[in-house]
Amino acid sequence: MAIFDKFQQLAATRRAMAESGIQSINVVMDRVVSATEAVVNGRSLILAGTNNYLGLTFHPECIEAACDATRTLGTGTTGSRVANGSYSTHVQLETELADYFRRRSVIVFSTGYVANLGMLSTLAGAGDVFVIDADCHASIYDGCRLSGAEIIRFRHNDPGDLEKRLRRLGARIENTLIVVEGIYSMLGDRAPLGDIVAVKRRYPGAFLVVDEAHSLGVLGSHGRGMAEEAGVEADVDFIIGTFSKSLGAIGGYCASDHPDLDLIRYANRPYVFTASSSPAIIASTRRALGILSAHPELRQRLWDNARRLYARLQELGYRLGPEPSPIIAVRFAQREQAYALWTALIERGVYVNLVVPPATPDGSSLLRCSASAGHTPDQIATIGNAFADLKRLFGAASA
């Protein structure tokens, strides 16, 4: 088999999508007007597939902080922190995140993917075991794989199945890391973290890692995520997350009380061999973290929008993810249905994410909407109206 032969199935899928007029993986935004609007092929679209949960990407204070940092510190760091040294702002962001999470220390990474890849591949090694939720993100699977540890999946959001697998490990439990997410990225459902922690407590020695990528700024009375919401922060050994969702930038972090977290920095190849975040990114992230902490009303607005859109789509008869969430997944048995509706939504001025297997958890295809605190009530109504219009046009085929 020649090198490129293995991509031919992918090429066929892409051709089929192109023939159906689907350009979802090649969308080019000519202009981004605000956190919730862009222009694509001359058409104004409401952005409802961004993960921009708090709508901070155009916050004037974040933009000003980024511009100021670029003027004073330059456009990039041109190397890793281990080789080139840290900027004081990298260290300040780590301190601010540690204060925010009430943790002993934090490591900042260049992306959320690198945070998972780096932490998971370094924490565990040959002879250790990962027990991960089946619906975990690709970055978690990839980090586990890179570690060389044994990887065992448990059924999605099923603490009973997790317990069965921990029990089977016997004495190996002390070399075990359980990995779950706060909110799952495809269907928007939350982990039953209280129940998962109850299981973990019955198996002393196991560590718990929670990826709060989609729950930072979204859940908990201070926005710290699912662990705060469930009242189990003390039971979570490592919190991993991203700056590219509610904080509106790019980057990742790991927060922990473990006294040796800092050691991991030096053994962590994805950290050691990646250029550190640019001054602009660090500056806007620090400002966004301040805004997230000081303005709980943004969270309220996000949830108002999410609940309103979920209720509207549910009322229209669409098959949705299991609970209201800022991620609202509209599910289709056939990918052609999802293709058709995605295109029709674009024509009606609404952009959502088209997700097809194998990226989806149960083989269905999704139109994945994400609500934002930045959406106006009119925009939420327009998104709902577009789906209503399609329900009339496509009828039963749209559910």
Binding site: E150, R153, L169, P357, P358, G363
Partner: protein, 82 residues
């Protein structure tokens, strides 16, 4: 501990409802090219096997599995370790 033949019989029985209609299942049957298994079906099969044998099957073995025989051999090794 179950023999190779015992495990093969159970694996074959669990594969049958997941395989494309009319496909015969032998030891050298390739799960992907002969039975058209996608990743979802492979995971489904693993979960059923795990329930049946009360064992956890590590994902690390997947790159070594192409055929029904490969899967059975790996499963026998896992059961032997437990």
């Amino acid at each position: 501990m179950p023999t190779y033949e015992d495990i093969l019989a159970i694996v074959t029985e669990l594969i049958k409802p997941l395989a494309a209609a009319g496909r015969s299942i032998r030891e050298d049957t390739d799960l992907v090219s002969d039975l058209e298994f996608d990743s979802l079906k492979v995971m489904n099969l693993i979960e059923q096997v795990e329930d049946r044998f009360d064992v956890s099957v590590p994902l690390n073995i997947l790159p070594d599995i192409r055929t029904v025989r490969d899967f059975t051999v790996q499963l026998q090794a896992i059961l032997g370790d437990n």
